[in-house]
Symmetry: C2
Subunit: 380 residues, 2 copies
């Protein structure tokens, strides 16, 4: 294994909020951080230079999608996903565990892995801990994830226990495989274990205990934001961060709204990722400093002199009006989706930058509690 890439810089005195940094071969990531999702080695509709301009520090890609298309061997030939995609900054790959689990009728979970059919062409494939680690070696992300089995919500204690056993076995197998198979592209790849256990605290505690013995480079909380109420998610995250080692990064997978992020930072989480800002942008929703803006609404058709978010400094808000964005959406123009995505991602990243600043100043808690209701409201 590599040495731990994370350095804890500060913990707030009033909450569990932390400042830290992750050092990778492709750059430094300052935490707390939000990771835009680039499933197929592209953040949908956005160019790498737009990501640099909004100061995205790390991008997530998906092993499942890249394995099917273009094939991880193609990415290996290119020298890794950073070079292939032109992002050339730190990247993280999800293991595909969540994706194959989501296939439901198309997959069969076995003791040694998951048999599944491609959602693209129905072809048959098998993911084992070793094959997924091999795929992630080929893709070459700076941070790679354990192959896990996501626990459904709701689940009984028995079901969750059964599911967790898979994740634990597969994590062990993955780490053994990685020990014997070093990175392919000449730079370190840090391995993050995934804590499962559903909404059962005793299982989460057990999962963390087991994982700590294995000592991965970082810890992720999986199986959250799968249908449970936000309060339950916060509570489980809060419970887990009390048990996780202080000196490793904590990453909550697949979450969430801007207010979810602030709530998780309060509870000691360092990293999050979610398709929400990019997907919702394409569907007509912007997250703004004033709340949620549904920019496709007819009431914006004539607002030609006001930015989508007047407080925002992104390319979209600096150059275009609510009326223009609404027009692009109405006309089905790709540019509308691109401009909305640029805003939403910039907004998330800027919110994280402010959070870091407020933690540094020792006033994060007051600020976050003031921001949360503003961020949540619907702009009329």
């Amino acid at each position: 294994m590599q040495k731990n890439p994370f350095e804890l810089l500060k913990t707030s005195e009033k909450s569990k909020a932390r400042l830290g940094k992750l050092t990778t071969a492709h750059g430094v990531v300052n935490t707390p951080i939000f990771m835009p999702v680039g499933t197929a080695a592209t953040v949908k509709g956005v160019m790498p230079r737009d990501l640099k301009e909004m100061q995205a520090e790390i991008i997530l890609a998906n092993t499942y999608h890249l394995y099917l298309r273009p094939g991880t061997d193609v990415i290996a030939t290119a020298g890794g996903v950073q070079k292939f995609s032109g992002f050339n900054g730190p990247m993280l790959t999800d293991s595909g565990g969540f994706q194959v689990w989501s296939l439901k009728d198309l997959r069969k979970i076995k003791k040694d892995g998951v048999e599944f059919r491609s959602h693209l062409d129905g072809s048959k494939h098998f993911f084992s801990p070793a094959s997924v680690m091999k795929a992630q070696r080929e893709i070459g992300a700076d941070i790679i994830m354990a192959f896990d089995e996501c626990t459904p919500y709701p689940s009984t204690l028995e079901e969750a226990k059964h599911s967790l056993a898979y994740t634990e076995r597969w994590t062990r197998e993955a780490m053994e495989w990685l020990k014997e198979n070093p990175p392919l592209h000449g730079y370190p790849q840090y391995f993050f274990g995934i804590v499962q256990g559903g909404m059962h605290k005793e299982l989460r505690a057990k999962a963390i205990e087991t994982l700590k013995e294995l000592s991965p480079d970082g810890y992720a909380l999986g199986g959250l934001s799968v249908g449970e109420p936000p309060e339950v998610m916060y509570e489980i995250a809060d419970f887990c961060t009390d048990l996780l080692p202080q000196d490793r990064a904590r990453y909550v997978m697949g979450v969430g709204t801007p207010w979810n992020l602030l709530e998780l930072i309060l509870r000691g989480v360092d990293m999050c990722d979610c398709v929400m800002p990019s997907r919702n942008a394409r569907n007509g929703m912007l997250f703004t400093s004033q709340g949620v803006l549904r920019y496709k609404a007819g009431r914006y058709a004539r607002i030609v002199d006001e930015a989508p978010d007047p407080e925002c400094s992104c390319y979209t808000c600096r150059n275009f009006s609510k009326a223009y964005l609404r027009h692009l959406f109405q006309a089905g123009e790709m540019l509308g989706m691109t401009l909305a995505t640029i805003h939403n991602l910039h907004f998330y990243l800027e919110l994280m930058r402010r959070a870091k600043q407020k933690i540094a100043e020792g006033v994060f808690e007051e600020w976050a509690l003031e921001q949360i209701p503003i961020l949540q409201r619907d702009i009329p």
Copy 2:
């Protein structure tokens, strides 16, 4: 009427190729020029800053589309299409004549204009020369076009004569309306007349004679590239530029491939526009310095170390491989269309810049004849 915005700087000694410049309130356009098409006040998938980077000097938008959506009154409220779209450079609007003519079953041509149904919702509308000029005043492009009646191909002399009579009457009416209704946004709008007449030289000559008496700020050739063989198009353009005044800009509407452009420049044409580079980019075709590249082909799946056009300096070719572009297309990712569009438009504009340089150096003819067969070939 405004004063003529065009200045003729040089005519080649070996062909009719010319260097000139058009001066507008939003900037200078150096001719010969290609105008990217931004139908609905956006060049599909491309941001204004990308257009600036590729040094697009003028963009075309469509009156018909903007009239229907978002409505020309919205654009007027924004202070014109340059501000509305964020391009902030010279723009030209097509009059909508060609678009309503293309509606075929949805329109009825009358003496005083065209009655048509919207292709969007079937609603009924009427375009007259005056209403179209009013719409173009509201949109506020730097160059506005006559409302014409496109002559079908093929057409008999009688049909073409009949069609031309409409265009001539409507041009007169448009110019009268414009005289009494000055620009709305505080800067001049130059009016270009459109020469019709089908492939009948005597009618083209008559059309030019009539138009010269009206003395518009510039001259467009309409009704070309409507199905006739390229040689016929070249011949008609050649015939017309002999008759057109030397001191005004000549614009061939809706043409064409890179080699079409070089052929037209040889024949004394200053301006062209076409959806081809942007539309074909989205469909998987790139125009390159080596010929036509169908980037979606499987043979590019593993070409990870070569730009789409190795000779090109556009953002796409500087940062991405054939394999990545092909992957994006296969995965249905918007970014593929954006990157391909950026390349094709950059390629067209760069070809025009080279053409200008070669005309200045007095070697355009040799260079163009060498380039044409290279540009046309299919890359295996």
